[in-house]
């Protein structure tokens, strides 16, 4: 039972650390951006064009946060 619990926690930690880890703002930003793009997929200008700029904005926000923590 202890073995299963240890490995359950390890699995949970693995799947959390892999996409989220120390940079939750990146995951939230990327999922929100692509989710919005998917919702507006029928209007190409609204869906596709801003994605690049929003992705760069999310990266800058994350880097600023990383610089403050360093």
């Amino acid at each position: 039972m202890r073995f299963v619990s240890t490995w359950g926690q390890a699995l949970q930690s693995f799947w959390w650390d892999l996409p989220v880890g120390d940079t939750p703002e990146l995951s939230v930003g990327v999922i929100s951006t692509l989710g919005a793009a998917f919702l507006f997929r029928l209007k190409r200008t609204l869906a596709v064009d801003p994605v690049l700029f929003v992705a760069i904005f999310v990266l800058i926000v994350s880097m600023t946060r990383g610089r403050q923590r360093a």
Binding site: A10, S13, T23, L34, L59, A70
Partner: protein
């Protein structure tokens, strides 16, 4: 001609992914004990088989291509952004470039200090297994994606499986030879450092290091 090209590509891609995982498993095996490394390998193999069996078939049959594309784009963008962010912070010297000597000295100091016994107990509490598990499951996922992507795209899955099998035999054989050549932890670190000079897999080891340290600190704090 196409068959030869396909075999070579699958062989190369699978071998690289498996060598990635093998280096870390060997490091865990020689420094933390073979038992914990093998435990991680076995659990990762079972989990990977379960994921492929349970998720793979419904994924192909039920999920539409646009949804799959969005999912793949999301994952790629998350990983790509985090690597780019880390590279920029390294280049602007806001975070230090990983210094293996300092890490090694700190680890030795910790293991011989007041918390030495706690530290050693934590290492045997499954941390080595978790590191081996992570590497095998990441490398295994790469291999499965290579096999499916390259083999299925040209309806030559059997040929792709044969190329993967050859790579598996070669990599595992190479692993046995290397494992017999390494008598102790200190030598294994030298071999790994040499391989790391020419191989990008140690980047991934560095990527895993913070998680490894965090988990270790938590274990030490909990038991002390």
């Amino acid at each position: 001609m196409l068959a030869v090209a396909l075999s070579l590509v699958v062989f190369g891609a699978s071998a690289v992914a498996m060598v990635d995982a093998q280096i870390i498993v060997l490091a865990v095996g020689t420094t933390r004990g073979l038992r914990s490394a093998l435990e991680g390998v076995v659990v990762a193999t079972v989990v990977l088989a379960a994921i492929v069996g349970a998720v793979g078939v419904p994924l192909i049959q039920l999920v539409t291509i646009p949804v799959l594309r969005v999912a793949v784009a999301t994952i790629s963008l998350i990983f790509g952004s985090s690597w780019l962010r880390k590279a920029i912070l390294h280049a602007s010297e806001h975070i230090a470039i990983h210094d293996e000597d300092v890490v090694f000295e700190n680890t030795v100091a910790l293991s011989t200090g007041q918390n030495g016994e706690v530290f050693r107990r934590a290492l045997h509490n499954g941390v080595g297994s978790v590191v081996a598990f992570r590497e095998v499951i990441l490398g295994g996922t790469e291999v499965v994606l290579n096999l499916l992507g390259l083999g299925a795209s040209d309806h030559r899955a059997k040929l792709a499986c044969r190329a993967w099998g050859s790579a598996l035999v070669l990599v595992v054989g190479f692993g046995f030879v290397v494992a017999h050549q390494i008598p102790g932890a200190k030598e294994s670190e030298r071999v790994l450092a040499l391989i790391g000079c020419a191989h990008p897999s140690l980047d991934r080891a560095n990527f895993l290091a913070p998680t490894f340290s965090r988990q270790l600190s938590r274990d030490c704090a909990r038991t002390s």
